[in-house]
Symmetry: C2
Subunit: 147 residues, 2 copies
Amino acid sequence: MAVPSGPVTASTDAERAMFDFVDAYDRAYETAALEHGLSVAQACVLGRLTRQIGMRELADELGCDASNITQIIRRLEVRDLVRRLPHPDDRRSRQIVRTPNGTTLYAAFEESFEFARSATANLSAGEQDQLVALLRKALNGTRKPNG
Amino acid sequence: MAVPSGPVTASTDAERAMFDFVDAYDRAYETAALEHGLSVAQACVLGRLTRQIGMRELADELGCDASNITQIIRRLEVRDLVRRLPHPDDRRSRQIVRTPNGTTLYAAFEESFEFARSATANLSAGEQDQLVALLRKALNGTRKPNG
DNA sequence: CTAGATGCTTAATCCAATCAAGCATCTATC
DNA sequence: GATAGATGCTTGATTGGATTAAGCATCTAG
């Protein structure tokens, strides 16, 4: 299990609650991924493939190097979860798509990752709206490392 | 940069807001760690060392294998950020402590990791209380992978 | 036609995580 | 006491993620 990313000594209740929530979210995600033989990175990449997309584009969206994507996609391809199609117009480029296997597996993963669903279900409609507003307001003005 | 752990296609506003928040939090943490030459795991471990603590205890708290801690601590020790003291009563055991260097560096890291502080500062006292209550309520009943 | 940009891959390196073994030490029991 | 098993930690091996530098093929602007 990955190590939790957050301070242990939060100075306020709010910081503590944020950390606890983030930690629970991350752990739930990792657990769900492992249940389906996926790493966190693999699950995340698989989840992005709702449409054909190039390697470069994928790397930009995920904020990491293209060579990183290369190896993640290779591992997914070996398991027949994705396929790399030639780009119709640009022979340098590949279009990545999920295979039916990949789509099925990802659906199963999402079913396992019930964290956000459960968390949402614990709140009334009004509370959900409140939470959304508060989270967005809290985010406002925080530094965004990569766009 | 690590890949974001979360679904891209969130089915509700609330899920989307949760993911955005978690993603921003994780990225801010990683960025702050990198600014001080620390990995996420290293920053996290360093943050736990507010008291003397054994390797076993550390591994349990972080929910990972003891051998994982061994190597993380070794890298921190090489940089004189932590020290491994013999346990007074049990010669198998080590007590890990931060060196003054480690304490200084971690303080600087925490200063850089302003995400939770800024996010909190964006909210009034009343809103903070609301957020804490909502986050805790949302967490209630979600599966807890490791206690 | 060519210089440079672009899309991707490969190889090398570092770190994190996990597993299986192993050593030293401790503890409970005989 | 002796010893069997538990405990604390380390080591080595393996897997995977992330980054960097280098390289190839292709595209595009001039």
